[in-house]
Symmetry: C3
Subunit: 481 residues, 3 copies
């Protein structure tokens, strides 16, 4: 609680500057898209065909995931519940408004304006998920100023990467395994590498959970679990593609969940469940089905992906996270490398396999809609033929399955490289001395940044006599997200 963590000047100054910047940029550049613009409606407009009715339900579901699901999940530390939940709230609210602008410049900018509708908000939410996942790597060790700075820098780096991959490499990644999960993971690892705190490798007295914080965190898991099908299907093509995305996500999560319980019991000394596994590893299936979530992979493949992703994630928490912390200077607080990195890689490979195995026999002509870059290019007579079967099919690049697979590989490496470099650079900025970073001792403690209610001290007092070492609960692998 040294003066250096006071937010009195730093945080308001940051917010004030950003608000002025945003008001100027919103005023100059942000306008409504056609679906939100009264002037674009005419006597042939059917109000119920407005794009909002296609996008808003998914937007609302993802909002619940971002603000309530992540918020509760990150509140799992016993003395850091306020911070977990509230910094998530602050960071998310800031990130989405910032992403509307930055992503807007790259993806929704024409006629000199960024045109917004609910669909931009959905895209901005995905950018927000990226920042919140990265946040998981440094949970407990960062001030809200650092988190806002991270968001400030991560969003442009993410938006450039996303734009370059979508525009130049052109990939299939409906559930965002590559662009969301891999990017977020390696960016977060880059940041935490720069914020390395050697003394925390031995564990920290406050790095523990409580009965209530564990329950709260499971509630977060459940909100993420329940709405994950909406996340994975929010940006697919409408119709059967979105339908499959929901099915695969649900099936992958289900098989992942029972696998997580089984592994948790096997690896526990006394054959009991460990809450951290239930809070995190159960969700692995949702990431693992991501890259192929809209393809005709068959339900059993989604089931198997759930089992595989969950196993990799579990073993990662067990063996890789301690290794990274002790040997690589990468302290991955919530284990995002397990839940988003390893699963993202498996998902990406599965996506490539699905691309290589796709045939017109399985997909019918709509193969060229799902794998849109494989559609014949403008002028090809095959395109006209296909457009008879699928009205509105857009010309593609005429790629073969093998070519598309190589582009996917290129996207994976590009994304990881951009994320890791961006993360390291961002971490350097976050490490500057005026960022209100808490001392090692003050980590994982709400009191640094919050006025605490009167019962908080008594919780502290309770803790001391019952030495947490006796129970062996405070090992550094008790991590999540």
């Amino acid at each position: 609680m040294s003066a250096s963590t006071s937010l009195k000047v730093r945080l308001p100054a940051f917010v004030l500057v950003m608000e002025v910047v945003m008001i100027i940029l919103y005023a100059m550049f942000v306008t409504y898209d056609d679906n939100a613009n009264a002037k674009m409606q005419n006597n042939e407009t059917n109000p119920m065909d407005n794009s909002m009715y296609r996008d808003y339900p998914y937007f609302a579901d993802v909002q619940v995931m971002i603000f309530i699901g992540f918020g509760c999940l990150l509140a799992f530390f016993r003395f850091y519940g306020f911070s977990g939940m509230v910094f998530n709230f602050l960071t998310a609210a800031f990130t989405i408004q910032w992403a509307i602008l930055i992503q807007g410049f790259f993806q929704f900018y024409y006629n000199g304006k960024i045109h917004i509708g609910v669909i931009n908000l959905v895209n901005a939410e995905f950018a927000c998920a990226v920042v919140l996942i990265s946040f998981g790597a440094v949970l407990g060790k960062t001030s809200p100023v650092q988190l806002l700075v991270m968001s400030l820098l991560e969003i442009p780096i993410f938006s450039v990467t996303e734009w370059a991959v979508l525009k130049y490499i052109r990939i299939n990644d409906a559930g965002g395994s590559i662009l969301i999960h891999l990017f977020a993971c390696y960016f977060g690892l880059g940041v935490t590498f720069m914020l390395y705190r050697p003394s925390l490798n031995a564990g920290h007295a406050k790095e523990t959970t409580s009965y209530h914080s564990d329950i709260l965190s499971v509630m977060g898991t459940l909100f993420l679990w329940v709405f994950w099908p909406s996340f994975n299907s929010a940006l697919t093509i409408k119709g059967d593609d979105q339908h499959r995305a929901v099915l695969h996500t649900f099936i992958g999560l289900s098989s992942s969940t029972i696998t997580a319980f089984a592994l948790s019991a096997v690896f526990n000394k006394r054959g009991k469940f460990t809450m951290a596994d239930i809070q995190n590893v159960t969700l692995a299936g949702g990431v693992t089905v991501g890259a192929s979530v809209d393809m005709m992979i068959s339900p059993v493949a989604a089931y198997a992906l759930g089992v595989m992703g969950c196993t990799a994630c579990f073993l990662g928490y067990r063996y890789l996270t301690p290794f990274l912390a002790q040997r690589m200077r990468i302290q991955d607080q919530c284990g995002i490398h397990n839940l988003h990195g390893l699963t993202g890689l498996i998902s990406s490979i599965a996506g490539i396999v699905a691309i290589l195995l796709a045939t017109e026999e399985t997909y019918g002509p709509s193969m060229f809609q799902i794998f849109s870059h494989r559609a014949p290019p403008e002028g090809d007579p095959k395109l006209l033929e296909l457009q008879q079967l699928i009205p509105g099919l857009k010309p593609g690049l005429g790629r073969s399955a093998q070519e598309q697979a190589l582009y996917q590989v290129a996207a994976i490496f590009t994304t990881i490289a951009a994320a890791a470099i961006g993360g390291v650079l961002t971490g350097m900025v976050m490490d500057l001395s005026f960022m209100a970073s808490p001392s090692d001792e003050d980590c994982f403690d709400d009191e640094v940044f919050f006025d605490m209610p009167s019962d908080f001290d008594s919780v502290e007092v309770l803790k001391t006599p019952v030495s947490s070492d006796e129970k062996g609960q405070t090992d550094p692998s008790d991590t999540k997200v």
Copy 2:
């Protein structure tokens, strides 16, 4: 905490076997239905007409009820919050994937395959609700292995019963009062009858709530309350039928809620509210309107059903649950017989009355759509006439109202009998010695199956000096679901 409750081998072995079985069966039998199959889309397909857009919103709402609503509600015990919430999660995730298969064989199997879409997931969620309701009867006294075995056996017994009743008896039961609530209730009572623990009739020191567990449980109630209209309307005919289902469920819940508060205050010695009543009895109206939820019963009938069901449910908790436990060897931990049995019976009777009172004057020709078995059979000239008025009306069985009422009665008895026998048999299997069942003393204790956070012991310590007997809170009627 004897070795016999270790999950180290048993639970993973069960999960592993089931995953192998499911991967084989999913691979052999499960494919996409037409709405989720890319190949079935053609140049006349409008993506926005995909069945997913009709079913997914209800699926998502029921998911919230199953995973969050039930999960929080079942976490009401002070030392059993992890178990209540987490066993619910495990059981639900396993049950839905299992029900997709088993229910699929009975209801969605053609051309050698089970065809799945979101509609199957909705049906599987209903099967899952059945298992979770039955779970309520044995909450606190069962290991997760026992719960998975219960699900393993209950789903086939339920699916056969459901299939037989729908295919051969043919009933009206939109909200599932007969097939969901009565089946789940009597199956659960059969199971708990076989798992009878005489020593628990005297109460158990840990059979108590805490300030926070009570609040968590009320949150579960509120999630169930809010989304119950989606539950009761998920499987009705679209249009005005579904509209009425929402209205009736909401009205029934509202009148039920204020009745529950009134009864709680009347019967309390000091004129205060009892949280268990608020957590459970308020929901009675949702079940009670179920069997007639899509019919033209008039809003006031929904209101009256809410009041009646709530009163029966309340009196059941007060007088019937203790009687069943002490005289009938039926320890109904959460009082499912009150919230699902008594209300289900009232609902079934109300459904019969509504069938007997239905006239074409009230319903117009769509009477033959709602009461589809009363539609004229194939070949009847009246059918052609009706099909002019209601395009797509399917031929029925030409039943009279009285005939339909008798079939409803037959379905009630069939369902109760199948459930009770199935429950007793399942209970016998669950009682086998290798099921990791906790000892009487270890009931209602998270520590048996979970690694506990360091503050859990201190909660225990707190409890001892303040004898709970002094406050009279630990009587066995303090039960729920």
Copy 3:
């Protein structure tokens, strides 16, 4: 805990009388609207065009806000969590069924019947929000009987005001800034003025939060935050209007949120965050965009409104609430005057400015749809012309922008006056001696109205040694909603 707070007779008697009244009135007057009536469907009905599919998603979202969002938010007191959450549940369930009737008589009554569909439920939910906001002014100091009486009287007064303003003054107020927020606020202030308790101005030992109650309350905030776009857009015109309402609400909330964090840190002595600010002030933007939420105000205006509303709200909590309590006998427990009154006024003024600035150049012809009272009256040739451009445009009153602005001003004053007078009269009734009102000492204490779990006393015991004065947490400005 004197006998005078026993609910044993009073509450059940109230409920019984009201149930009899409602059963009689529902039976005599309430029937289905055309979309819920089987008889009104014919061979041209497309079930998927049923109004339920347009209204139900917003209904469900607002249900979450009312029952879970408000419920958690109001549970912020350490010893009053049961009461906050459960009285909200009881009051809301009663209010909606009552509002269906009373609002129905004023707005949905024709052919001798109130015709109900989901749209009535949405309207009744808004009436319910009014009562719950007013409840915020007297939280902790009222018995459930008093709250039910408040609802009993507030609903008719609100319904008359709403009807008179909509029918005779005719205003634009899509988000309900005038009719919902201003009415609710000044009614609540009127009530609390009559229930003035001088001794509480010095603070109350139990007027404090706990670590868990603060987290619970933030969860309530997050549920309100996430679904507020549905609230503000539930009753707009469908299509681009509703689309803009979602965008503006989201943007306004986002800028409001980061502003609230900044102000919280600036004004805190040690540069920390205060949870009460995060729980309440973050939401100010949702109210502030309300009156102009469907207009073409441009995204940057929504952003600026969020910042302005949030600032006014924050300063209100800081300076105005203590002033009102000490000088004006108005003890506004949750600070509704800040979150609903000041923001409602700013919103109303912004609405007037937006009306004055609206041009056909910006809106196109649909200006006459959004500002429906500006449409030409029946018979005006301009109306026929416009109906070519917007099929189904209804004749208006031919008002100019200036005229409409004046009517908005008239509506603001009318609403505030009706609310304040109605609140004072209602407060007089609530102050009658048989209303089970708790003594000053018993305020903010669950034990008065609930059977408490055995750990509640130990919480009390914990509190005494750690004098809350030492921490300075129990100042009367620690208020919310």
